[in-house]
Symmetry: D2
Subunit: 361 residues, 4 copies
C-alpha cells in the first residue's frame, strides 16, 4: 500500500470509506507559505458528495481540520496534517459486499493482495480516498502560486459517454467550468451531459468520459529526465486516480497519424522568449516543460457500481449474482475535475521543489 | 535528473550519447538469481542500432560488460553494474546542434533546466539512454521468471502511421513478432509498414505509431494502491520512454464510449480460480493485478529528427533554420519493442519485491 | 523537515507541542497483524508526562485514537493513522520564548532554517514530537513479534550524571526496569538516581545520562550493507531522538583499547547454530545481524531547559538574559526508555520487511 | 543491499574486492559544478593502498575514469558515473575464506543473508567498497565548496590503540595531518603511533582507534528534523564505514558527566552573527547546524583480519581453526581519514540541496 506521493513535497494519505475519517500528512512543504483552512475547504467543497443533483447523495460536509504545520496563516516548514471526519456511514447497505465481489471493483484484488479488506463502502478503495489528495493539492497550489505568479491549472469534463464538448485548449475558462454542475467548458453540452447522466442513473447504469487539464503559466525547466520526465510523472499521477484508463499529453494517440514534419513544433522568438508555433508537444519536450501550456487528456471508465443484477463470484469461491445497493454515483466525472487538478498541483509542486536543488548554479 | 527507477529493485542509469559509454547499476536485486551476460546481451541486441535496414545505421555492437554483483552465473544480492562502451561517435555531424535548437527535441529544455548540455548526439536525451533500461530489464526478467514460472511479457508494433495491424491480444505471439524486422504481430502488415518507413526516410521525414504490450501469467495481487497502482506505475514507466505521448490500460479511451454494464468484467469461477469473462480492466482492478492478462497500449510520436529544413531558433535567441544532418532514424517503433518490455519487467519486478514485504502473514 | 522514517515500513509523524495534537501515519505495514488501541496506549503510557514524581508535570493523558488501517483488531495493509490530541497548553508560560533564544535549544536554528517557528513549548522541537515515534513503534513491535517469535527489545537507564548502574547486558530484565520510576536495571542505584534528579530539579538544573538497549532473539541476516548497515541505521534512529549526543554498538569506543585478537569474537557451533564466544561485535557483523544480542549504548546530554538565569541573545539580535519558566523536566532519561525501544522496533521492522524482498530464493 | 545513499544527491556504489572493479553513479548532482578527474583522483590517492609503509601492500593505482555527466570540466546535471578497475587480485591467497568464516568479519552474516557470497577478498564487504564513497565524496566536495565559499572538512587520527593525540578541535590543521603517514594532527604522537602499528603488524595482530572530524564554515540551517537531524544522518554516514563501533557529536558521552548549566552553550552576538561561547553542541542544535564548527568523533575497532591462529567454524557448520593469509592491514585508521571526510561531504551536500527545496520563501 503506497499511499505516499512525491519525493520532496511528500504526501501520505490515509483513511477508509467507513472508518473514522480520512486525511493526509504533508512533509517537505516549504515554510512561509500563506495557507488557510478556507483554501483547503474550497477545493474539498468542489469534490464533496451531494453538491448537486447529478452526483452521489452521500451526505458529508467534508470539513477539513488543520492539525499541525501552520501558524497564523503561514506554513511552519513542519508536517501539515489535515483530517476530515466521516459522518454518513451506512454500513448496513453494504453487507452483501462482505461476501460477494462487485465486478470491476477492487474487492477481489484487495482480498488476494492483503488477505483482508474493509468491505464497507469499499474501504480504502473508495473514492473517499481522494479527499486526502484534494486537501494536499490545495497546499501544493498555495506553494506554487506563491512561487510562480500566474500559474494556473484548469480541468474540465470534455466528454461524457457520447456527448463531446467542443472547446479548444485556449478557450477553456475556469469561470464557465465552475458555473455548471457538470464542470464542462462548453456550455452547449451542459444539458445533454446532464440528461445522459440522469438517464444512466435511472437505468441503474453508469457512464465514463474524458477530463482535460491545462497548466498555464508553468515556467520552462520543470521535469526530471530520465525516468521522472514531467509527462511520465503526470501520467503516474493521473492514472492513480480511481477509474482512469488512459492518459495523453499534447497530441496523444493522434500523434501516430502525423508525420514528423506535421508533428514537430517549430520554435520562434517572441521578444526574449523562446516559443513554439504549434503545441503538439503539450508543453513538454524531453520530459521537461518548455513554457508552453501543458495539455493533458485523461480517460475515465464508467463507474463499476451498478443498480443492475450482474454475474459475479462470492469470496468463498462460488458463482453468484449481485445487484448493487446503497448510494449510486452514475458518473464521477464532475467530481473528478478537482481531483485531476489536485494531482497536477502535487506533481508540479514536487518538480518545482526538486528543481530548487538541481539548478543551484 | 532522476535517472533512478524503482523502490526495492532500484535502477540507476547513466551515460551520454557521445560520452565514454552508457550503463546501469541495480541495487536491491535478490541473491541467487541465475544471470549471465548472454541474457542481457540478447535483449540489447534487439534494441541495437543497425540491426536491420529500417533502423538507424549508427554502428554500435552495444556489448554489455557485467562489472559486479554476479558470481558463477548467480546474483550475489550486491549491486549489479553493467557498462556498455560507446564506439561510433560522429560528433562533427552534430556541430550545428551546439548552436541551434532542433524542433521538438530536448535541446532547448535541457539548456533552460541545466544551463548546459552535452549537445553532441543529444547527450543524455539521446535514445542511447535506453540501453541502461534494457540491460536492467533483462535482470528484472531473470528475477521474475525465476520467481513466477510462466510469466511472459510480449510487446509488438501495432501501428505505424496509418498502417494498423489486425491482431487480438491473445493472438500476438513472440515468435511471429521476432520473425519480422518491424516487430509486428500481424504478418500481413509487415510489408506495408516497411514501405511506409522507407518512404518516410527517403523524404527525410519520420513516422510514429503504437506499441502494444501484454503481460501473461502475472499472478493476482501485484500493485500498490493508492498512488502506486499497478497501472499508474506502468503508465509512469512507459511514458518515461522517449517519444511517448499516450498510454492506455485495457479498454483505454474506448472505455468512455461504453456504459458501466458494458464495461464491467463479470467474475466467474474457473475451477478454483477467480476469472473474468471479459478483460476491459486490462488485468488490473483497483490498481492491483487480478490474474488476467495485463494489456497496455503506448503511443509514440514521429521522431523529431528530420532531414528537412525547419524553422527554429538559435541558442542565443535568434530565429534560425535547421536541416538535420547525421544519421536518421525514420521510425523508432521496431526498436521500441524491447524497451517497452524492459520497462514492464522493471515495473513488475519492483512490485513483486514490494509485495514480499507487504504480504507477510 | 523530514518527519518521515523507513523505506518499506514508512512512518510520517506530525504535530507541534502547543498545536491541536500530534500523531503519525504508517504506510507499508503488512496486513493481518494483530493490533489494538491498548497495545499502542501501553507504550504511550510509559512515555507520558506526569507518570511519576521525577518527570515533567505537564498533564496529558496522551490517548491514542486509531483513525484508519485496522479492522476488528487486524491491520488491513492500508495506512494506519494514529492521532493524539494535546490538552495542557500553557502558551502564556512560554511568551518569552517568542523573543529570546533558549541556549542549546532549537529556537535559533529553527528560525534560521525556516524563517518562522512555533515558539510555544518548542513547537515541533518539543519532546511531544516523540509521541508519534512511540505510537508507530508499538505497531512495529506488533509486526515483528508476530513475525519473529521471541524477539524482545529492552532498554534501561544505565547512568544518570555520575550515578552508574552495575548490570550486565544479560542481567537487564524488563520487569525490574519497569518496577522503578527511573527505569534502571540495577535496583541498587534507584534511590541515588532519584536523589540526583531531585537535587538537580531543586537547583533548577538538569542531568543527562546513558540509556542501554538490547535486542534479544533477533535472527541473523537483517541489515543492508553498504550504507544501510544495521548498526548505521540504528545509529541514525537513536541519534534522531532529542538530546542524544553519542551512540555505540557492542564494544563501542572501548574497542579502541583492544587489539584485534582481544576484540575478535570467535565462532563456535552450538548444535546447528553458529554462535560467538564473546560479543564485542554487539550482534552485528559487516552491518548484518549475526543472531547474537544486539547491544546499544546511547548518550543523552542534560536537558537544555533550566530554571537558572542564562546568557543568550534575542531573536532580533541583541544580547539578553533568560530564566526558564513553565514546566521543568530535570531529567528525561526515564521517559527516553520507551522512545529508544520504539526507534529500535521501527528500525528492525523496516529491515525485516526489506529482507523479505531481498532473500526471495 | 542498500548501496544507495542520499535523497537529493543520490549515490549508488558497486563492486566487489576481486571483481572487475568498483565505482559509483551519482544522480541529482547540480549542473555547472566545476569537476575534473584530478579532483577525484586526489582523494582516491589519499585512500589508496600501498601509499606508505604502514598500510596494506595491495598494489592498486585506483585510477578513476569519469564515464558520464561531465563536459569540459563542468557537470551536466546528468548522472556522473565513475569507475575504478581492480588490478591486484590474488584470489588464491583467499581460498580458505571460501570454506571458513573469519571471526568478526562479514563472511558468516553475508552467507546467512544472501545464501551466497563473493568470498575472495571479502567481496562487497571488503574495504575496496569505500572507493566509491571517496570518489562520490570528491564530487560532493566540489558542489559544496562552489556553493559555500570557505567550507572545509578536516579529519585526522586522534588515537591509535593507547596512543592518544593531544590537539584541540581548533588546532587540527590539514597540512600537518597530511604531512605524516599516520594522518594525525599532533606531530608528537606520529612516531609512537607508527611504532604501535608496526609492532601489531609484526605480531600478526591489529589496532583500532579514533578519528575526529571537524566541519568548518558550515552555514546555519542545514539538517532536517525530525528523523533526519544533521547529527543523526552524520551518525548514519559514519557508522556505515566498515569497522566503526561508535559515534559522538560535540560533547558526546562526556555530556553525561555535566549538568545542564555546564553543558548549555550560551549565545552571544558577534557583530551581526549569533554565536555560542562554548560548543558542547558540536555545531548542531535541534538537529540543525548553528554555524559553529561541527565536531565528530568516530571509534574504529581493530581490523578483524589477523595473521594469528583463531577459533572459528566452517561454512558447513563444523568447528575449525583459521590463520589469516594474504595481505594484512594492521591498522586502517590512516586510510579511514579520507573516507570519513567523504561521508561528511556526502551527508552535508545532500542536506544542502534538500534545504534548497525547503527554504524557498
Amino acid at each position: 500500500m503506497s499511499s505516499c506521493y512525491g519525493q520532496v513535497f511528500r504526501v501520505s494519505t490515509w483513511g477508509e470509506s467507513h472508518g473514522v475519517g480520512v486525511g493526509v500528512v504533508i512533509d517537505g512543504c516549504p515554510s512561509l507559505v500563506g495557507l488557510t483552512q478556507e483554501m483547503i475547504q474550497h477545493e474539498l467543497d468542489r469534490r464533496r458528495p451531494g453538491q448537486s443533483e447529478i452526483v452521489t447523495p452521500r451526505s458529508e460536509s467534508d470539513t477539513a481540520e488543520i492539525l499541525s504545520g501552520v501558524l497564523d496563516g503561514k506554513t511552519l516548514g513542519t508536517p501539515i496534517a489535515i483530517s476530515i471526519r466521516n459522518k454518513d456511514h451506512r454500513s448496513s447497505a453494504y453487507d452483501e459486499m462482505a461476501r460477494t465481489y462487485r465486478p470491476s471493483h477492487a474487492d477481489f484484488t484487495y482480498d488476494v493482495k492483503y488477505g483482508i479488506r474493509a468491505w464497507a463502502g469499499g474501504g480504502r478503495a473508495s473514492a473517499r480516498e481522494t479527499i486526502g489528495r484534494v486537501a494536499a493539492g490545495a497546499v501544493a497550489k498555495a506553494v506554487l502560486q506563491q512561487a510562480i505568479p500566474g500559474i494556473e491549472i484548469t480541468a474540465w469534463v470534455d466528454k461524457i459517454h457520447k456527448v463531446q464538448a467542443q472547446v479548444s485548449w485556449d478557450d477553456a475558462k475556469a469561470d464557465i467550468i465552475e458555473s455548471n454542475i457538470v464542470r464542462t467548458a462548453d456550455t452547449s453540452v451542459v444539458e445533454p451531459m446532464i440528461a445522459a447522466i440522469k438517464e444512466a442513473r435511472e437505468a441503474g447504469n453508469s457512464l465514463g468520459g474524458i477530463v482535460k487539464c491545462v497548466v498555464r503559466g508553468c515556467p520552462a525547466g520543470l521535469g526530471d529526465p530520465v525516468f521522472d520526465k514531467l509527462d511520465a510523472t503526470l501520467a503516474h499521477a493521473m492514472m492513480s486516480i480511481p477509474a482512469t484508463k488512459a492518459f495523453a499529453v499534447g497530441s496523444g494517440f493522434e500523434a501516430t497519424n502525423m508525420t514528423g514534419l506535421e508533428h514537430n513544433d517549430p520554435f520562434y522568438m517572441d521578444g526574449e522568449t523562446v516559443r513554439t508555433v504549434t503545441n503538439h508537444s503539450g508543453g513538454i519536450q524531453g520530459g521537461i516543460s518548455n513554457g508552453e501550456d501543458i495539455l493533458m487528456t485523461i480517460g475515465f471508465k464508467p463507474t463499476a457500481t451498478l443498480m443492475i443484477d450482474q454475474q459475479t463470484v462470492s469470496s468463498d469461491g462460488k458463482d453468484a449474482r449481485l445487484k448493487g445497493k446503497g448510494r449510486h454515483d452514475a458518473c464521477v466525472l464532475p467530481r473528478a475535475v478537482p481531483i485531476v487538478e489536485a494531482m497536477a498541483w502535487l506533481c508540479l509542486c514536487d518538480h518545482y521543489l526538486r528543481q530548487c536543488g538541481q539548478r543551484v548554479f
